[in-house]
């Protein structure tokens, strides 16, 4: 009886909470965590040649991929990244951004033009760069960045990817299909040195343990954690209830052994 009630109560709570479930982090993203990123040579928009490791040497680096002739998502996506980093703050002091063309036909002047179009040519914290074919193959391979050239449309089919890198390893990644403002802010919080817990969940889950408020930067307990209080409350209720019932029946008239004296009666 008690158990059936309990199960009923749980089912109600579960179905209520299921409606508020948040989208999960993709497995693809969590697989990238802690991957080593190859140290490839880059040519920057101003013509300088550098190793990518020079960009992450003293602070984290946010890397995103694009190509100049994209007629699809690349340019709006770069704008979105630019706006998101402006909103979230910390750029320069806490991290830098690298927009790397994954089309080896792009030249330094192509990406310089792109930087200018976005109003970022004079930003000291943004780097636009190109790399040779072999270097591109290494870094896109290491980061599972998927792209394929379609000769008919003369366009690349590709994902959008943002990767936070610290000391040469991936600290966090966002695959664009799941990118929304909150998750981008989480990434920036990480770049700025806070630890924001998250983990991949297969499919939708009914209750989660905590939520991260990307605006305030706080992690808050969610209903899943509150469910952990339920057993304790049930135990409290059971104890109080049982003893309340017990006190209505006549107490003490049962066995004659005085409490605390049992040892005497059975001690020889």
């Amino acid at each position: 009886m008690g158990i059936r009630l309990l199960i009923g109560a749980c089912a109600v709570i579960l179905s209520l909470a299921a409606q508020g479930a948040a989208p999960g982090v993709s497995v693809q993203e969590s697989r990238l965590i802690d991957r080593a990123v190859p140290d490839i040579p880059l040519q920057l928009a101003d013509g300088r040649s550098v190793q990518i490791s020079e960009l992450w040497r003293d602070r984290p680096l946010l890397v995103t991929f694009f190509y100049r002739r994209c007629s699809g998502v690349c340019i709006p996506f770069l704008e979105w990244v630019r706006n998101a980093t402006r909103e979230a703050g910390g750029i320069g002091g806490d991290y830098r951004v690298l927009a790397l063309s994954f089309d080896d036909a792009d030249t330094a002047s192509d990406v310089a033009a792109q930087a200018a179009a976005l109003g970022l040519r004079d930003s000291p914290h943004w780097f636009f760069a190109v790399a040779n074919r072999e270097a591109l193959a290494r870094i896109t391979g290491a980061l599972d960045f998927w792209h394929r050239y379609d000769p008919a449309r003369r366009q690349y089919e590709h994902n959008a990817l943002i990767v936070g890198i610290e000391d040469g390893r991936v600290m966090r990644a966002l695959v664009a299909s799941g990118v929304e403002g909150g998750r981008m802010r989480e990434l920036v919080w990480e770049l700025r040195g806070s630890f924001i817990p998250f983990y991949a969940v297969p499919g939708q889950t009914a209750l989660s343990c905590f939520t991260f408020d990307a605006v305030s930067g706080e992690t808050r307990l969610d209903w899943g954690m509150l469910l952990l209080m339920l057993p304790a409350l049930l135990a409290l209720a059971a104890a109080v209830g049982i003893f309340a019932l017990g006190s209505r029946r006549n107490r003490g008239g049962m066995k004659t052994i005085a409490p605390g004296g049992a040892w005497i009666t059975s001690h020889r």
């Binding site: 199960i7 939708q204 989660s208 343990c209 469910l227 049982i242 006190s247 107490r251 409490p259 049992a262």
Partner: protein
């Protein structure tokens, strides 16, 4: 002469039957880990699962049986529920045997979500495992509630928890065993309720495909598993409070300190399990700190007060030493030693090194085998000897204790050493880098066999008395 309760005797029978089988599984595991019986290695994890669930279950019910027996001295637990507890436990055990032996289910004793759904075993065996836990959990919940009801028949809640001692009054005198049992049973309701919620979540996924948050399920699972094991230990300690005075010839009374320590347990014990999630980097940091503090607070005061009280009880008393009093004393020592290992492991800075190494089985085997098992064995021997009143031979009883102590501690030592040398737990065979793990296992298998021999001698001592007690049981 004091006739024994027949249910208590049945539980003794169940324990004596299952324990040696589960010990053999333990010896089997250490043999495989030492490189022996290589052809059977696919059975390692099913047997590890059976050994783990089986041991936890057996010693939980054995401790509950002791508690019920103690309560029977003061009040009246329902005979019908006692029968239900026995029957339900047997059904649960049968289901467990089926899923492990026929289905090779190997999710480990705490069946961490989502592993039961992901293993190489057939789906039905995972379902049988969940059903087994459901039957056991439901039965034990009813049993727990009935024992609380029995206490409530005689005492108010505040009396049973000894709150009048906190207020400075000594009347009415409450046996410390009642206080400890009340605390443990209330915590037990919470643990079993957490278990029910975990099972509901599993069934939900089974029937609707809706996945659960793995972190939440892990929290609930350890709420259930850790708390249950923890309070089984406390029930054993209650038996020591109840019986040891008979051998010392003076009472072991409750007082303010005793009341404070066990009410602290009640307040805190439900939060200690967080120490199982130290390595879960996504667990909010605050809970990790709560876990460390609660681990200390739920173990140290109660243990210190109990050990100190036991020493005072025995100090300069005309102590009658026999197998019961000896094992009670050894059991309290085992609790303290294992507790020390546990406190080390629940310290975050140490856990970073020790998590999921053999240090973990080391400490819990210490307070289970050399703690709870000894306490329950003491109580079992005590009950059957009181009913049978046979002459006792001191030499043989000492031999039993020496063999069990030597076997057990030698076996633990190998676990501790392996843990300190970074040998992970739950490896069926060790790779070349961990070859020392294999050597420790071989030595441990020998010590475990010594323990088994000691146990068989104990069985001979207690078994004959148990048989005689059966004839006069009430």
């Amino acid at each position: 002469m004091r006739p024994a309760n027949s249910y208590t005797l049945y539980w003794m029978g169940v324990t004596f039957l299952l324990f040696p089988i589960l010990i053999l599984l333990g010896i089997y595991m250490r043999t495989v880990q030492a490189g022996g019986l290589a052809g059977t290695v696919t059975w390692f994890y099913p047997m590890m699962t059976l050994h783990g669930v089986g041991m936890v279950g057996v010693w939980y019910v054995a401790a509950m049986a002791c508690a019920a027996d103690i309560l029977g001295r003061y009040t009246e637990p329902s005979p019908a529920v006692r029968g239900l507890a026995l029957g339900g436990t047997l059904v649960g055990v049968l289901l467990l045997l089926a899923c492990v032996f026929l289905g090779k289910f190997a999710g480990g004793w705490y069946f961490l979500y989502p592993l039961p759904f992901k293993g190489e075993w057939p789906a039905w065996s995972a379902v049988a495992f969940l059903l087994s836990l459901t039957v056991l959990g439901a039965t034990w919940l009813v049993w727990t509630l009935d024992l609380l009801r029995a206490i409530a028949k005689k005492y108010t809640l505040t009396q049973a928890l000894g709150w009048h001692y906190l207020a400075g009054r000594d009347e009415p005198a409450i046996p410390p065993s009642i206080m400890i049992i009340t605390v443990s049973l209330i915590a037990g309701v919470a643990a079993l309720a957490a278990g029910v919620i975990v099972l509901v979540l599993f069934y939900q996924e089974l029937f609707t495909g809706a996945a659960s948050d793995a972190l939440m399920v892990k929290n609930l699972t350890f709420f259930f598993g850790h708390t249950l094991v923890n309070l089984a230990m406390y029930l054993g300690v209650a038996a020591a409070y109840e019986v040891l005075p008979q051998y010392a010839g003076r009472p072991w009374k409750a007082n303010k300190i005793v009341a404070i320590s066990w009410n602290t347990v009640l307040l805190i014990v439900l939060f200690a399990y967080f120490h199982h999630l130290y390595m879960d980097f996504v667990q909010p940091g605050t809970l990790q700190y709560i876990g460390q503090i609660a681990s200390y607070a739920s173990a140290i005061p109660a243990a210190v007060v109990t050990i100190f009280g036991a020493l005072l009880l025995v100090y300069r008393a005309r102590m009658r030493w026999n197998l019961a009093s000896l094992l009670f004393f050894l059991g309290l020592i085992g609790w303290a030693v294992g507790g020390m290992g546990a406190v080390i492991d629940s310290t975050i800075s140490a856990n970073v090194r020790l998590h999921n190494t053999l240090w973990v089985p080391a400490h819990f085997h210490t307070y289970m085998l050399a703690g709870l098992v000894f306490l329950v064995f003491a109580y079992f021997y005590h009950c059957s000897q009181e009913a049978a009143a046979e002459p006792e031979r001191a030499g043989r009883q000492k031999l039993v204790s020496v063999l069990m102590v030597a076997g057990a501690y030698g076996f633990f030592l190998m676990f501790y050493l392996s843990g300190a040398y970074s040998v992970p737990r739950r490896f069926a065979t060790y790779p070349a880098e961990l070859a020392h793990g294999g050597a420790f296992s071989a030595i441990a298998a020998v010590f475990a066999t010594v323990f088994l021999v000691g146990f068989l001698l104990y069985l001979a001592e207690t078994g004959s008395r148990w048989y005689k007690a059966m004839q006069t049981a009430s």
